[in-house]
């Protein structure tokens, strides 16, 4: 990236955030939307009181919280009383999974059964595994095709099994952007009378929420709201029981004092993103299409993942064979481009990306590019120019450090 375009983290001339032109990690955190920032500053002054009290400051905070709830509920397509604000998307997912399952578990009929696609966010898979460990609930993880799209027939068959208490399918995948067949999964779940959790974390604010969910979760920082606001929506007709000690807040679903200023900012950002979606969607979609077409053309042995058409407008992941993902992220950062990677050597664990593994795709040397709403054509052009020499340089370094002639081992005795 040209010198000076990413000026030492200072505010950009538009006066909003410190994101540089090469910030391509919107799927981790979209820079705060300017309208959210204005609302946040106002709400810090006016919405700080405890909305559960009866005095005037409390009533003002309560009013603001109600407005935010109505506005987010309208955007996501639910009733305000179905929607609770949580402290993160992960907390929303944990509450959704635990509360829906525990409402339907019974001592006499056993711990039951859950279904989740193999490419769900780790919050979903970890919550399911936690229930398995603690309550003995069986968990069926269903497969995806090579594009990362859930196998609906397998998902429906698993949901139809006896004593299935919950099925979980994301709206779209957070790593490769593939849109999931939620409508078909919802039909199957309705037939089997199984509640469906749709984790809309990757798509909320970018695409309309698909119909057919029983429980819905999302995270505000991915649509340009502040960190620390998640969404949990539970249909009036869906049974849910608080899995934690009781608390009166947020429809008795979420413990603790809600963060009114940040919730207001999250609501303002969602409204703004939704209004801008028409113009933004096409522009981002075209930039991602260019990355998808150009990377394999310019970088030898690079593979682009996910569905080329049925995808989120702003996300793409590709893998470069023989490249260490950590080195790639570090070198791109040095060149002014902020991206993420699901390679095992970059993540906290040694396990490779469970999404790419489920797709049977290469798990090393991968880069997720996720464009923020303000991504420019020229920044993407610069990225596509910078990438090939960086990959070539890393390949040289890695190959030089690789043993060329390992000794052939003696054969094992059978």
């Amino acid at each position: 990236m040209a010198a000076g375009t990413k000026a030492a983290g200072g505010p950009d001339p538009a006066g909003t955030t410190s994101a540089g032109d090469g910030y391509f990690d919107a799927a981790s955190a979209e820079p705060l939307h300017p309208s959210a920032r204005d609302v946040l500053l106002d709400a810090l002054d006016n919405g700080w009181a405890d909305p559960a009290r009866l005095h005037r400051e409390a009533r003002r905070a309560q009013l603001m919280l109600n407005q935010a709830r109505e506005s987010v509920a309208a955007e996501l397509g639910c009733w305000p009383d179905e929607l609770s604000f949580t402290s993160s998307g992960t907390q929303a997912v944990h509450l959704a999974v635990l509360g829906a399952v525990q409402a339907r578990q019974s001592a006499s009929r056993g711990p039951g059964h859950l279904v989740a696609s193999a490419v769900e966010h780790s919050a979903v898979l970890n919550a399911a595994d936690w229930l398995h460990q603690r309550t003995g609930a069986a968990v069926t993880v269903t497969g995806v095709n090579s594009l990362g799209r859930a196998d609906v027939a397998e998902f429906a068959a698993a949901a139809g099994r006896d004593r299935t208490l919950l099925a979980c399918l994301q709206s779209a995948n957070h790593e490769v952007g593939t849109i999931q067949p939620v409508a078909e999964a919802a039909d199957a779940c309705a037939r089997a009378r199984v509640p469906l959790l749709v984790d809309a974390g990757a798509s909320a604010g970018r695409l309309p929420v698909p119909a057919g969910w029983s429980l819905l979760t999302a995270s505000a920082r991915k649509w340009g709201g502040p960190a620390g606001v998640g969404i949990l929506a539970v249909r009036r007709t869906t049974r849910w029981r608080d899995p934690f000690p009781p608390d009166d807040r947020e429809g008795r679903r979420v413990p603790g004092f809600p963060n009114v200023p940040e919730i207001l900012a999250a609501a303002a950002s969602l409204t703004a993103m939704s209004k801008e979606r028409g113009a933004m969607d096409g522009a981002l979609r075209a930039l991602i299409a260019r990355i998808r077409a150009t990377v394999p053309d310019r970088v030898p042995d690079a593979v682009v993942h996910g569905d080329p058409d049925a995808r989120l407008p702003h996300i793409v992941t590709f893998s470069c064979l023989y490249v260490d993902g950590e080195a790639l992220v570090t070198e791109l950062d040095r060149a002014g481009f902020s991206v993420s990677s699901g390679s095992a050597c970059v993540a906290d664990t040694r396990q490779p990306s469970h999404v790419l593994a489920a797709m049977g795709a290469l798990t090393h040397g991968n880069v997720r590019v996720s464009l923020p709403r303000a991504a420019s054509d020229s920044a993407v052009t610069e990225f596509l120019d910078a990438l090939p020499p960086i990959v070539a340089r890393i390949r040289e370094t890695v190959r030089a450090a690789t043993p060329r002639r390992s000794e052939a081992l003696p054969e094992e005795t059978p």
Partner: protein, 80 residues
Amino acid sequence: MTPSHRPALTLDALGKKCPVPIIMLADRIREVPIGQTIEVLADDPAAKTDVPAWCTLKSQEFVGANDRPVGWSFLIRRSY
């Protein structure tokens, strides 16, 4: 392992993190005759996905994987 699956060459990538096992495989598969197999020993969990994915990308035949006391043994047949 059946006799027809006895590898013509075994590469020891134990203790090496991806992508090193794949680089070793790509470098040395041409040392075995077409139709013969090469074995890769590795213990990085990423290899479980990456060896078959490499075979698909490079149109080589992934024969299978076997658990070992440490890591896995992957068998690949050179197809061209």
